[in-house]
Symmetry: C2
Subunit: 398 residues, 2 copies
């Protein structure tokens, strides 16, 4: 058994960001840029007004002065002339500042009559002018690599005049569930069989993390069936297996895949649930063997698969974030395995109360949990209210 | 001008959840159930073992006792007989408990030799047995309405034997940018023109909130162009407009759409940026008129559009969540408009520092912001470190 941190480090050190592709701007949301995005233009492209009013020579526009309105400069339609002494140009937010102007007489400080306008307040030079390049200049890095693009980022990339973005393609993840006792939802169920939930829960997790999941047909608990599935793994960036609950299922995955070129990196992690985790490589394809137990599969998904998907996607290698909270109930001391307790959060998120029964088969408890409450190896007993670390589940979309 | 809270209330009270559709289970992630999902089966379907070991009659398996192994019960392959006195059945996690058995001798407490097994520890009745229905029973509500399905929920729906889910369809949102000065990225730019960023930023926001966005061709700043676009609005659940920055653009949207059946509910909200917000109905289609200013459009997106999309999606009507933080700089007193300052967060999220220049044209500042710091109307000046409320942007995907 190895520690959780070491397991994660070994997983991440084997993974590289996937290749890149060119996508149209609107497909860029939530993708990871593969190269820094530089602006192709300067914004604003010229000096513009920040307000509706009159472009003036500030020296002219003292309080009480009357100016002659010689033109109009709405956004997108610059006034071509040059402002002379005593002149003003009607201007609107975003309109280009005419040559010669160095101030804006605000609409609310102006009194217009015919082609005349009087200033009720003196105009300060430069005030209400957005200078060329205030937002960004051509060549500026607008968006860095290694983060998911937000809606605001998509807007900024558009403003920088990029119809296309170079992003990492979505990691392709194969998901192979094994087990004699499982059937897909709605299909005939073997006696005492259960409906396969892992593959589709993991597929949703992969999707939540920006990956592209392929759910392979369920493999039976025999070496031939698993080996056949393994041969189909070419082309995935990561192959997930999730073992059936039947005898030695994990040994079976390993032994069935050995002749197909499987090389194990580690097996068994000091955690609960999730101990029988496998990490290795099937020929060139990284293989993460998740436990068949559905709760264990999802906990390992949160702890190992999300960081793995992030690394494949081009994001920085980092553990799934935890944050401090207080325990809503007293907790017993822990043994040598790191424990991930399914917990409900108080409305403000400050208190995490572990479910009374933590049986790792209970999907219902898992779905109703808001967080995983971490109990490090050999953690001492804690009274109610003591400080703990939690992983928030809902923000991860899982 | 109306207050932000009243504006939001008026918007939400006009919206109803969209109709429903039937989607295959794997498409259910992040969708909103339209009816509570009840389990179609009982899980576990029979009493099963929670561990690898031997199913025994607890009364037989005292410390030191030797039992005869008469069969095997892996998951999915029940042993058909009935356990007699002095007998044991090899059992594995998830394996059905044979009739007559009421305890599990754990593998690590057992010594096996041929068809015999000895107990090193006494077996407690019921311990390590998962009783039929421990997780859920047929007919139980597994998943409620009014929340987005997580990956765990998808797993639970699968386990409850649902190949299909009845969810609200994605709200269809039309996005109409107007303005003479704007061009799409990569297209020829008019003199002093700017590249259209609003439509695609809003489209990404709609997508982040689970909607389906249709970006309409940019309408010119003339009544005919806007009216034509308005006639194409049938079939959307919500039409967004985003005004050009040119003269009276908002009046223009309203006046151009009036002959097309536009009815205004309100115009102008006491907020900064975002004052010239329009809310109404174009024939049967709710219309939200966002400011043309890109920062204002996104702030209104966060404050009004996200809750609107949530309500359309079948989620509860609620404002975008805020949370307490401390201001990283002293803040001046506020006027009658609620202010949304673009702010960076400290690593732990506890301190929000507003950008020095809050010019609402600056997309760069917006994209680099982690949060919007709220300043209520008439808020007093605050010293550095004072309590404020913030909206976290990244978790919203916007």
């Amino acid at each position: 058994m190895i520690a959780v941190a070491e397991a994660l480090e070994r997983i991440l050190s084997e993974l590289r960001p996937v290749a890149t592709e060119s996508v149209p701007l609107p497909s860029g949301w939530n993708r990871v840029l593969a190269e820094p995005l530089r602006s192709r233009l300067t914004q604003p492209p010229v000096d513009v007004s920040a307000m509706d009013g009159y472009a003036v020579r500030a020296g002219d526009a003292v309080a009480g002065a009357t100016l002659r309105v010689v033109g109009e400069a709405p956004a997108g339609r610059p006034w071509a002339g040059r402002l002379a002494a005593g002149e003003a140009v009607r201007i609107f937010t975003g309109g280009a500042l005419p040559a010669g102007a160095d101030g804006i007489l605000l609409q609310e400080d102006a009194e217009a009559a015919g082609d005349q306008v009087s200033a009720r307040e003196a105009v300060q030079p430069d005030r209400w002018i957005r200078r060329r390049g205030l937002d960004f200049a051509a060549g500026d890095v607008l968006l860095p690599v290694q983060r998911r693009l937000t809606a605001r980022d998509v807007g900024l990339a558009a403003a920088g005049n990029h119809p296309w973005l170079t992003v990492h393609r979505r990691p392709r993840i194969g998901i192979l569930a094994t087990g004699d006792e499982i059937a897909l939802p709605g299909e005939p169920l073997p006696p005492a069989g259960i409906v396969s939930s892992n593959a589709h829960a993991l597929s949703a997790l992969v999707r939540a993390a920006g990956g592209e999941a392929t759910v392979l047909p369920v493999a039976r608990d025999d070496a031939g069936s698993i080996a056949r599935a393994g041969r189909a793994a070419e082309g995935f960036d990561l192959l997930l297996t999730t073992g059936g609950a039947s005898v030695g299922a994990h040994d079976l995955v390993q032994s069935a895949l050995l002749p197909e070129g499987f090389q194990r990196n580690f097996w068994r992690v000091a955690m609960r649930p999730g101990k029988p985790l496998i990490w290795g490589r099937l020929r060139d394809v990284p293989l993460l063997g998740l436990p068949g137990n559905p709760v264990a599969a999802m906990v390992c998904g949160a702890v190992f698969l999300l960081p793995a998907l992030a690394k494949l996607s081009g994001l920085p290698a980092a553990p799934t974030p935890t944050r401090p909270a207080r325990t809503g109930r007293a907790l017993p001391g822990n043994d040598q395995r790191q424990d991930y307790l399914r917990a409900r959060l108080s409305a403000d998120g400050a208190v995490a109360t572990a479910a009374e029964r933590q049986d790792s088969s209970m999907l219902n408890t898992l779905a109703r949990a808001d967080a995983l409450l971490l109990r490090p190896p050999h953690a001492p007993p804690l009274p109610e209210g003591a400080a703990v670390e939690v992983i928030d589940l809902a923000p991860l979309g899982i």
